[in-house]
């Protein structure tokens, strides 16, 4: 395929919709695509918009798992099986899986979408996978069955409705104290990832993080997704512990729809 054609939108029908949680749905699409865990796609709804999502399924049919947040995801939630959805990608670079015997995955909320295929791939490669999954409450825990097949699952909920009561950082530190890991993988809100990064430094664990930034093009042109000099769409979304420790912007700065420099948590 030529270098431009590969960025053209592929359209497929929604072949299955799974309501994973009150605010989370998985959309399976009749589009074939191979992608590394950690890579993402741009999903397209005509005259609505285009947004980045991780793939929670790849191969003959792909799937995205979406949390309802604003105009795009609301429109998506209104679609029925048989509707069309456009996809371009996959984009970015995924997690590295080489030489990992014991892996610790840390997900918060919808961050699990970026890690579910990683957990499965790691298990397939023979790694032992521990997964710490933090949610507000029991009803937000998704992919439970899939995850239990491949990982030893530790759940944390803020309200204590399932598993450990409290945030995942506490839980993670407990786990890390007990056991050493070759590598940690993390995806969740940036403040949480900052805390995880600190623990990784403290416990000297190699780690990778899936970072989100505002994305308009996904091909490295617009510059909106920058994190320091990196572009999250092409250099990321997966970054190493070393990169993020060196970053001046991780946890602090992102760029808005206009390209304005913004502080996490407001000015």
């Amino acid at each position: 395929m030529n270098e431009f054609a590969k960025h053209m939108i592929k359209t497929g029908r929604i072949t299955k919709i799974v309501e994973e949680a009150p605010n989370i749905k998985t959309f399976e699409l009749s589009i074939a695509m191979h992608a590394e865990p950690g890579q993402f796609v741009m999903a397209f709804l005509p005259q609505v918009g285009e947004r980045p999502f991780a793939l929670t399924q790849a191969g003959k049919k792909i799937a995205i798992t979406v949390k309802k947040r604003g105009p795009f995801t609301e429109k998506l939630f209104s679609l029925k099986e048989g509707s069309f959805l456009g996809i371009r990608g996959p984009y970015g670079k995924g997690f590295s899986l080489q030489n990992v015997g014991k892996a610790c995955l840390v997900a918060a909320g919808i961050g699990i979408a970026a890690l579910i295929r990683l957990a499965e791939e790691l298990a397939k490669e023979g790694a032992s996978v521990t997964l710490i999954f933090a949610c507000k409450s029991a009803n937000e825990i998704i992919f439970k069955e899939r995850l239990e097949k491949v990982a030893s699952l530790h759940i944390a909920t803020e309200d204590g409705s399932a598993g450990f009561k409290g945030d995942c950082i506490e839980l993670l530190e407990k786990v890390l104290k007990k056991q050493s890991y070759d590598k940690l993988y993390c995806c969740g809100p940036e403040a949480m990832m900052v805390s995880v990064l600190k623990l990784c430094e403290k416990y000297a664990i190699d780690a990778e993080f899936a970072v989100e930034r505002y994305m308009k093009c996904a091909v490295g042109l617009c510059g909106h997704c920058c994190l320091d000099e990196w572009l999250v769409c092409t250099d990321g979304p997966v970054f190493s512990k070393e990169q993020l420790l060196a970053s001046k912007e991780f946890g602090r700065i992102y760029y808005s729809k206009s390209g304005k420099r913004m502080r996490f948590g407001g000015d």
Binding site: N2, E3, F4, A5, H7, M8, I9, T11, M42, F44, P46, Q47, V48, G49, E50, R51, F84, G86, R88, K216, C217, V219, G220, L221, C222, G223, H224, C226, D228, E229, W230, L231, T234, E249, Y255, S256, K257, S258, G259, K260, R261
Partner: protein, 302 residues
């Protein structure tokens, strides 16, 4: 071998990061500098902050792409903060600004003149943003003269005027800019506009429906326009449109360009496209017994 001088500005190579790509902030520009660009242009700044069009802002087809960002940018005030200190750059940084009328252009140029930019570029040629460029009627001899004359009074920096090769009277517009005091012509902005329809949904892909066409698709039209401009202009020409390889840049130089911009190519070969093209140019020059890239300028006219 690749060094040039353009409007008195020394460039280590003739490849310039075009306005609009990797130019939102210093981080972006540093990335392109690391990628080997000979000069860096910032994304066009407007007086006020602009959020631009809804996504999709880009649409691809097999021969290039369309874009319609709608001049999203953080606005002049933020830009003056962001670019106040350019000491981290080892290559020249060029300002770019856009407005709906001459008096706003004057405000922008007056403000940008205070910073350490090596030149200021006026894109009077965006084909797809309401209130700007062609959609503000800036693609005429009269409007070009008016805006360039007014801006000329406000800066001693080299003033570059970016035109659109789509226009049948592109040469006349360039001549008008030259007469009004422009120091160089940048040619071209994106062509068209064009449209790509997602046939499954029977809807245009871009939220703004239409967008400017860039990439390989437009290269031959740009080469021809550069060839035409070179015959008539005294001031140097900066060519852009579909340059993805060193050989494409050489083609532009032979047609008459003094320097060459790259935008879309970054999506295909990454920010290191500048280095890659420089290597390709050097190798070609050696193989064909040229000593300097400047020997190529306009040779297709001989």
């Amino acid at each position: 071998m690749l060094a040039i001088e353009l409007c008195g500005i020394k460039l280590k190579n003739p490849l310039i990061l075009a306005s609009g790509v990797l130019g939102l902030n210093k981080n972006n520009l540093l990335r392109a500098q690391k990628g080997g660009a000979g000069a860096l242009t910032i994304k066009s700044i407007s007086l006020e902050e602009r959020f631009g069009h809804e996504t999709p802002n880009v649409a691809f087809f097999e021969a290039g792409m369309l874009n319609a960002f709608g001049y999203c940018n953080p606005g002049l005030e933020e830009a003056l903060r962001e670019f106040a200190d350019l000491s981290c750059f080892s290559v020249p940084v060029i300002a770019s600004c856009t407005a709906s009328n001459a008096s706003d252009f004057v405000k922008l140029v007056s403000a940008l003149d205070k910073l350490d930019f090596a030149a200021i570029e006026l894109p009077l040629s965006c084909p797809h943003t309401p209130g700007h460029g062609l959609l503000a009627g800036q693609g005429t001899v009269e409007a070009t003269k008016e805006i360039v004359k007014a801006c000329r009074k406000k800066t001693k920096k080299p003033l570059w005027v970016k035109i659109n090769a789509s226009l049948p009277n592109a040469v006349d517009i360039a001549l008008a800019a030259e007469q009004a005091g422009a120091d160089a012509i940048t040619c071209s902005n994106t062509l068209g506009p064009g449209m790509v329809i997602n046939i499954a949904s029977a809807k245009p892909v871009l939220a703004f429906k239409v967008g400017g066409v860039s990439g390989p698709a437009i290269r031959p039209i740009i080469v021809r326009t550069i060839y035409d401009l070179y015959k008539r202009l005294k001031i140097p020409i900066i060519a852009l449109g579909g340059v993805l390889r060193g050989e494409h840049a050489i083609e532009m130089l032979m047609a008459g360009a003094s320097a060459v911009g790259i935008a879309t190519g970054i999506a295909i070969r990454g920010p290191d496209i500048f280095k890659k093209c420089c290597d390709e140019m050097s190798e070609w020059l050696k193989k064909h017994d040229y000593k300097s890239v400047t020997e190529l300028i306009g040779v297709a006219h001989e």
